[in-house]
Symmetry: C2
Amino acid sequence: LSYSTVSSLGEHALIARITGRLAMPPWVVVGPGDDAAVLQPKRGAYDVLTTDALVDGVHFDLRFVPPDAVGHRALAVNLSDLAAMGAEPRAALLSLLLPDSLDVTILDGIVDGLTGLAARHRVALVGGNITRTPGPLAIDVTATGTVHGRRILRRGGARPGDEVYVTGALGDAAVGLRHLQQEPADRAGDAYDACVERYLRPEPRVRAGLLLGRNRAASSCMDLSDGLADAVRQVAAASEVGITLDAGALPLSDGVRQWHERHGDDPIATALAGGDDYELLFTVRPGHRGRLRAAAALMRTVPITRIGVVTKDRGLVVRSGTATRDLPTGYEHFRAG
Amino acid sequence: LSYSTVSSLGEHALIARITGRLAMPPWVVVGPGDDAAVLQPKRGAYDVLTTDALVDGVHFDLRFVPPDAVGHRALAVNLSDLAAMGAEPRAALLSLLLPDSLDVTILDGIVDGLTGLAARHRVALVGGNITRTPGPLAIDVTATGTVHGRRILRRGGARPGDEVYVTGALGDAAVGLRHLQQEPADRAGDAYDACVERYLRPEPRVRAGLLLGRNRAASSCMDLSDGLADAVRQVAAASEVGITLDAGALPLSDGVRQWHERHGDDPIATALAGGDDYELLFTVRPGHRGRLRAAAALMRTVPITRIGVVTKDRGLVVRSGTATRDLPTGYEHFRAG
């Protein structure tokens, strides 16, 4: 078994190592290996573009996150952004900042995780960039997709009276991460396996976003990358409305309930503030419930839960029975104090 | 005068600081502030996509490169890639990896440099991402543009007998960088100002690339980001041909000649290996010289120089009078030894 670091290979060899494993669909006119990629546009559709970076030690930790999960997440967070616009993903660019000492098998694992998810969503990896860094490993992915004009899901479309929904369950990724961060000896068997998997390899809600846009069931939509509280705050701000959530309605998995029973803290706080879930938050006009039922019927395994209502009053509130509290601020990256 | 670091502001405040200064053209359907940007495609054109990252300490050094030049270069290197495809730039995404201790005025300077160049090329900054990093400042820009199918400039189109050309002069950026790296006391007045400026704020050859593609004057094209020798090697490999360069024909500025006279080393070596020039290397069929003259007449201030010929023999050679030598390997990022 040979062990080599990325600095022992040349940049061209590293690029060839990645591009050698890629297949290109016919609408990729120029793929990797030229100055830029050239794509045939999809007729009648708009182009959708997003970029998101993951940094070792900030967004993941190579000490307990396997390389394939790093690659998977780097693409998933971008596909989640496309899903939240109602867009169909098409292509991605991969920009890698590699420390000299990185083992090339880690790089291989990252690429495998990324291309595996890409293949399942028919996303072509059409280009990218590799550079060395004296800092930690960072992976910056740009994803592009298409959407028809009337199907765009914006954050700013919620109106008073709309009902608030989420896909999937909340807080799984946060519990999965906390479980991974514990010493292996402290880990309680495989009770939290599902949560750990949700943290490591989140499934972007691409099909759900497409379906919500296709029949215009949703009046607004956003993904939960920074947690429910943050997303509620952003949709409310963009739509110039308030939102009242029903704490009892928040969908919690068995793993999340079990974790909080064991640790004696509040699962609602985790559901509100926990990041990395990559579910979709969306609003639906009361008259469009039929559209939502039609879309939900096609999503099959993706649960959809009504969790609140949009209000004219600009307050952001969480109701538990008759008690109410203000929505927590949510996790904001980058604030130190 | 208030001094603050990026970590003292929230992520939302940092984003607002950038997006508050942006104006959007009408074809930007959704700009910054949603999950992704949505662009109206240009009719009949293909989409062109490229990404390139700059890392402090690797691609620039904040100790002697002003912030606006960092922002300028981060966009310029991407526009240069689009130019080398014959594409018209349209939009960019800005992904920032910021150390906690970074002064926000440095961030402001970077954004000013980037948006200044963007405005001159009518590029809309439609989105991006900000994250913190325990490593050095890194700026990853993705640029997108459009090109008509028959105007795409690829690396692989050179044929034996084609003539080899470059825009501008070679080695300026390398000399500018060496001059900047010297102690201020060692700097010889402003004799190298033009070289320093070419290093700090390279002018991507967007118009030249468009003109070479528009009338199909060029049979292949690539930008010189990693130096002439590297570009010659890549074009020859992609086209499955050899290339012979004429050392005496390589265009050298007064600054480059003066630097080498003073330091007693070979300006040809700098012209071949020096990176960061962001000129275009391209080939022209002998029968298409008229097209090249027509394109060159419209470029006005951009010099074009014939520097060699494409050969059937796969050798890569530099000729000086009657002597020949092999093309040097050129600078390759990332090789440690």
